[in-house]
Subunit: 220 residues, 2 copies
DNA sequence: GTCTATAAGTTGATAGAC
DNA sequence: GTCTATCAACTTATAGAC
């Protein structure tokens, strides 16, 4: 307590966390240009000069927020392995993605905004780690298809579809809410959304019987 | 030619069109806050005071761009009528949406940005015309499902999925391009994307045989 | 209708006391 | 490490000559 130098930056770590949390919220609402340091500082409960003390510039704050988000994105445990069950792997991925979208909508929005503006800060990540990951998993999926374990679906585009189908509930929540007649989405909405996406994708990949359609007789 | 007052504002109409085209591009790239009147003026090839002469304020320019886009959105001829063939109606809608996305990606991006920021300008449209449209078409779709003409899919969420699946190719083109190893998407990419979305959705709605999966024997 | 010059306001960033 | 005061740059919008 009296020691002038405790473990390196315990206070620093805490304050940086507070700032990043506030920044994620503000960047999600207003985008990079629209967000102001004053607004972030207000939300973080400290004068804006402190933000500059900890991060230097506005871009650095933004980069830190993005780095935080990319960790979330990559931490998703995916089960796309040759021996896995395609249906289980896809279900698990969709559920994980949807849970992340529901729990961290602001993270999704900051990411969406960055992409929408041409990804000036995370272009390297997209062309590097993300591209490699998709390439890897696509090999696995092509293997499943060749083995007749799922319908012929373009693996890369399947990933685009999965991202779009799940993240749309955070990025465009305003639109979804307006159409459903609510101001924002609750747990029940997300449960329904998850069921819907699971059904659509699993059936779309031939991993589910096309139930609810009248069973055609076996012999034409 | 010498008449001081020809048909009302022929020049005006032309110049407003030039400005709106430039504005759509700039707003798509930079968002509302990020875009500057100077940049729009430069792209439109006129001094920025002219923009104020024609539209008054920056917000008015933005509103005009959005109004232009909403026309496009609603002009989509949809064939969701009780007697229509579900498969044909869905195919047509997907193809139209994807064509619009490919031909006017900037329009999609401006719209996406507006939604992402909480739709401050078009909230009324979302809660009014759009909600009514979706409600209407959902009744039709529920009729198809009750008649056993397609699989049980939540109609409202189906629309969210269709919008997400198609517009993602414009809004997040940077991500798609990075994963596919290109700097931007060409006609071949859009053809492939359309095929993919058609397959996924039609099969997902039970409107297509789950081909490419080994046919299970008729009797278990 | 078109253009240059400029006013008025906002924002990122820093200086310097504590 | 924290805070107040302030600077410098930028942006919207307008005034007023042509």
């Amino acid at each position: 307590m009296s020691g002038s130098r405790g473990r390196v930056g315990r206070i620093r770590q805490q304050h940086e966390g507070t700032i990043l949390k506030a920044a994620e919220h503000v960047f999600a609402r207003s985008g990079f240009q629209g967000a102001t340091m004053a607004e972030i500082a207000l939300r973080a409960g400290m004068p804006k000069s402190n933000l500059h003390y900890y991060f230097g510039t506005k871009v650095e704050v933004y980069r830190a927020v993005l780095a935080h988000i990319l960790e979330l994105w990559l931490a998703e445990t995916d089960r796309f392995t040759p021996d896995a069950d395609p249906r289980e792997a896809l279900s698990h991925y969709i559920e994980a993605k949807m849970r992340l979208t529901a729990e961290r909508p602001d993270a999704s929005r900051v990411f969406a905004n960055e992409l929408l503006h041409g990804a000036p800060e995370i272009g390297d990540y997209l062309r590097g780690a993300l591209r490699a990951l998709v390439a890897d998993k696509s090999v696995v999926i092509r293997g499943w298809i060749a083995a007749g374990r799922m319908a012929a679906v373009d693996p890369e585009h399947l990933f685009f579809s999965l991202w779009a189908l799940t993240q749309t509930y955070a990025d465009f929540e305003t639109q979804v809410g307006a159409v459903l007649g609510r101001s924002n989405l609750g747990p029940a909405d997300y449960r329904r959304a998850t069921d819907h996406v699971l059904n659509l994708v699993l059936r779309g990949c031939g991993l589910m019987p096309p139930a609810a359609i009248e069973e055609p007789p076996c012999s034409t």
